[in-house]
Each structure stands twice: as C-alpha cells, then as structure tokens.
C-alpha cells in the first residue's frame, strides 16, 4: 500500500539553532499517527515543515503523491494536506459562517452539513463573530473548516490543549470517525487521548525520534511516558 505521507531524514533549523534531526515517519491512508514529546521536542516544527511553513535544511516530505519540499503553505493545502494550528486563533472579526466560507471557497466544498454533523454546537453559532466563541468552539470551527474539501491528510497540533474533558471526549470520537476517510497526524501531550485513537505513535525528544510504537499492545500511556 502506498504511503499517503512519508517524511525521510528531515532536518530543520531556526537560523543557527537546529530543531529537527533526520526525522522519518510514514503513514497509510485512514491511519491516525500521533507525535508525542515534551515542550520544545520539535513536534510543532515537524507539522509546520510538512505544511510548507518552514523550509527544511535536508530531507524529503512526500504527501498525496507529490514532493512537498519547497511548496508554499497554500500549495500544500491545495494538495489536500491541511494544517490546524495549535493556538486556536480563528479569524476573530469574521463570523463562523464567513470562516467556513473561507474554507469552502478554495476547495469548492460547501457541504457544511458534514461539518455540523461532526460539530452540532456550531450550527446555532453561524452568525456569531468567531472571536466571541469559547476555546472548544474555536477548536471545532478550526477542525470543521479544515475538513471542507475532504482533505487527504489532516495535521492537527495539540487539539486537546486547554479544553474541558467533555470536549476532548467529543474530539476523540470525531477523530475516530474522521479517520475512515482522512489520515490524521496528531501532535498531542494528552497521552490517554493519543493512546485511545492512534494506530502509530512517534516519540520525539530534542528533535529526534526516539521511539516508534506501531502495535496496539505497546500504545499505552505508561509506555509512551517512558520515552518523554
């Protein structure tokens, strides 16, 4: 089976400071892959490099049958590889509807019913300014917006950070459902969430992959924690 995303020997630096060292990962369509690690391990840098926001020093990134190195973020997004950043900053001056319209226009996908089926809470909030949403609602909007156009790969950065347990549980169900059609890369520190849904876990430490857990038996919070 072809990989939907394949990262090989990826090295990235911020100026003089090297952040990633020869990172490699691969995933199949419909798989949920998680990257875990402490703050500063290089998890977000990895996602940003795949999304085209950072130019790697060396290595290759192949996604959706195309080389992603050197592509601009909007070109990567148009290939069906969407990034949901960590900071939950939506376009605050735009309404929920306008935020979704922005997601729809480039992908020509106006099937918002699919988004509201995953996140029913968004339905009555369509005319509300996104800046007035709660943290959980913002996260739903950001994931919902990225879902438009049926992306091949969704790169989600710390989706559970700062959210109430009930919303995290809801996200877990949504990710499980989503993975039937979309491959997911989750960067997350919430180990119970990761271990409940991921089929493969990469542990990152100081910019290097120190472990790859690929069987369900070994994907457990206490096992993951050993590598952090």
């Amino acid at each position: 089976m072809h990989s939907i995303l394949e990262v090989r020997d990826l090295s990235v630096s911020y100026g003089e400071a090297r952040v990633l060292f020869d990172v490699a990962l691969s995933m199949q369509p419909g798989e949920i892959v998680a990257c875990v690690g402490r703050n500063g391990a290089g998890k977000t840098t990895l996602l940003k490099s795949i999304a085209g926001f950072l130019k790697p020093l060396a290595g290759s990134v192949v996604g959706a049958n195309a080389s992603l190195v050197g592509l601009k973020p909007y070109e990567v997004a148009r290939l069906g590889i969407k990034y949901v950043p960590q900071d939950k900053k939506v376009f605050s001056d735009l309404t929920v509807r306008e935020n979704l319209e922005l997601g729809s226009y480039t992908s020509r996908d106006y099937d918002w019913d699919r988004v509201t089926a995953y996140f029913p809470k968004l339905k009555p909030l369509m005319e509300r300014k996104a800046g007035h949403l709660s943290g959980g609602e913002r996260q739903m909007l950001m994931i919902g917006r990225a879902l438009l156009g049926s992306p091949k790969v969704l790169l989600v950065d710390e989706p559970a950070e700062g959210l109430a347990p009930s919303i995290v549980a809801h996200l877990k169900d949504v990710f499980g459902e989503l993975s039937k059609n979309t491959a997911l890369v989750l960067v997350e520190q919430n180990l119970p969430l990761v271990c409940a849904i991921a089929s493969k876990v990469y542990a990152l430490k100081e910019g290097r992959i120190v472990a790859e857990l690929a069987d369900r038996e070994s994907i457990k919070p206490d096992v993951c924690e050993r590598y952090l």
């Binding site: 926001f53 601009k72 909007y74 997004a77 969407k82 950043p85 376009f91 306008e98 922005l102 480039t106």
Partner: protein, 328 residues
C-alpha cells in the same frame, strides 16, 4: 430580504443626505467632498481591510489625473474617454509597482509608497516638464467638449456624475466587503499564515486588493482633472500624502461610511476654518489630534455603535409595544 433592505436603507440615506447637501452648500464644496470620498475609499479599503497604510496615494491620484490630462491636452476632447484613460493609467501603475510593493511589511509598504509619490512629483515637475509643463501644469478646461445627456464639463452636471460614480464605487466596495474576497482581505490582515493554511495565496489577495484600491484612487484623480480642467505636480506633492490616511482615520478606518463622513468633515473643516483663521493648517492639525484622541475609531466608528443602539432600542421598544398591543 431584510438584509437587503438594511443594506440599501443605509446607502440611500447616506447618499440622500449628500444629494440634499447640494441644495444647501456651495457646489465646489460638495464636488470636492464627493471626489475626496472616492479618493479615500481606496485608502480606507487598504488600511481597514488589508492592514496596509499607504502614504503614497498622491502617486496613484496623479497617475489618474495625468492620464486624463495628457489625453485631454494632447489627443482628444471627450472627458469620458479622458476618465477612462485615467483609470487605465492607475491600473497600469498599480499593476507595475504592486507585485513589488505588496511583498513588503506594512511599515515598509508605507514608506516605499511615499517614495513613489516623491518620484512622481519630481517626474511631473522636472524630468517630464516638456510634456507636463512643469509647475505651470496642463490646462484643458476649454478644450473639453460637451457630452450628451450629462455634460460633465459643467460643474452642476459634473456633481450628478460624480455622485453616481461615488454611489457605484460605494456599492462595489460594499459588495467586496461581503464577498469571499473581502473576507480573505480581512483574514490576511488578522493572520496571514492561517489564510495560507486554508489554501489561499496571501500575495495574490494583497496584490488584487492593492490594484483595486489604487485604481479607485486613480479614478478620483481622473475626476479631479475633469472637474478642475487643470492638473499640476501639486496633486502628487508629498506634503499632501497624509491627507487620505488622515481622512480615513478621521472618518473611521475600514467602515463603509467612513470615507464619506471623513471627506465631509475634513473638507468642511478646511473650508470653514480657512475663512476664519490665518494659519488654518496649524489649527486643523491640533483639531485632528483632538478628534482622534477623543475617539480613536474615527467619527463614524464612534457614532455607529451609538446609532445602532439607538435604533435597536427603538426597534425593541416597538416590538415590546406591539407585543403589549397583541396581549391587549
């Protein structure tokens, strides 16, 4: 439907007031207000929607004005054709410099545009003096031919024309604001990275916004040229560069009525105060500082929430009254 009514209600009220002002105020004043409001709309869109502050608007104004003036002075007599050429000149200039300028950050963008205004000023005043007649300018008021239906070579007909153009420009910007493109412009101002993650090119969004805004400015320049029948390098003078920015902020940045309100207030202040006080520029400077400190959202930005509150309060009372009536 209700949205459409609300939409047109505001538009009709604003422009009815402007039309009514024709009856009470001197024609040169209202003509100046209408053209200045078109001039400011481009700047307001750039600043309010895209987050670009430009101190080079006189350059694009001059592109439109000189495009029109060259045609009417050297080649033809039809002012409509002159205005069309002015618009195309603005489109050409912004199409040439835009791809370079929109790559810059907002502060450098402001300065490079100011530099362009300085370049235009010296081009028109010195380098191209044989064609532009230097400081003497190009005079073509008497060369313009009369036009059928609306003879825009006369000031009163020109006002009707300028009024209709302003209305069309305003409606166009209202349409842009409500479109996906308007949302993209605002999104690039709020967070350019996130817009890229959704599959949009920031560069393309900014370039298109830049070209639209500065072509609007060139339209205002072309209209100044036809209205005055004269163009000199003074139109692109760098010391006039802050005018549209000041009027944008004075009216209310990024608001649709702001350019109209700001142009009215600024032109009015200049007109009234210059008749009363010798060093009126100094006085206006202090007055502007005071107005902007008192309400940093500008005149319309400050008034709008109050008016909305007033009208929604009245609507609520009416609804409550209707309810009480129904209960009775």
């Amino acid at each position: 439907m209700m949205n459409a009514i609300r939409w047109w209600w505001g538009l009709l009220l604003a422009f009815s007031l402007l039309a009514a002002s024709w009856a009470f105020l001197p024609l040169p004043f209202v003509n100046e207000v209408v053209i200045f409001s078109i001039y400011t709309m481009g700047c307001s869109f750039l600043l309010g929607r895209v987050g670009f502050i430009s101190f080079g608007q006189p350059a694009y104004l001059a592109a439109g004005a000189y495009g029109t003036a060259f045609y009417l002075f050297y080649f033809g007599t039809d002012p409509y054709v002159g205005i069309l050429i002015g618009i195309l000149s603005g489109l050409a200039v912004s199409g040439i410099v835009g791809p370079l300028f929109v790559r810059l950050r907002s502060d450098y963008f402001a300065l490079v545009n100011l530099a362009l205004a300085v370049i235009f000023y010296y081009l028109m005043q010195k380098v191209l003096a044989d064609i532009t007649k230097g400081d003497n300018g190009l005079w073509f008021l008497t060369r313009m031919s009369s036009t059928p239906v609306l003879d825009i070579s006369t000031p009163s007909h020109f006002f009707v024309f300028a009024f209709l153009v302003a209305l069309a420009v305003w409606a166009f910007y209202k349409y842009l604001d409500d479109s996906i493109f308007g949302a993209c412009c605002l999104a690039t101002k709020i967070n350019e990275d996130k817009l890229e993650f959704l599959g949009y090119s920031n560069y393309s969004v900014r370039l298109l916004a830049f070209i639209i805004a500065n072509t609007t400015t060139a339209l205002a320049g072309a209209m100044y040229a036809v209205y005055l029948g004269f163009v000199s390098p003074e139109i692109t003078s760098p010391h006039r560069a802050p005018d549209p920015v000041v009027v944008t902020i004075l009216g209310g940045t990024g608001t649709l009525y702001g350019p109209l309100v700001g142009a009215f207030a600024y032109t009015g202040m200049k007109d009234v105060i210059s008749k009363l006080i010798g060093n009126w520029e100094l006085f206006i400077g202090f007055l502007l500082v005071f107005i902007m400190l008192a309400g940093e959202k500008g005149i319309w930005g400050t008034l709008q929430p109050r008016l909305e509150k007033l009208f929604s309060g009245r609507k609520d009372r009416t609804a409550a009254g209707d309810g009480a009536e129904a209960r009775r």
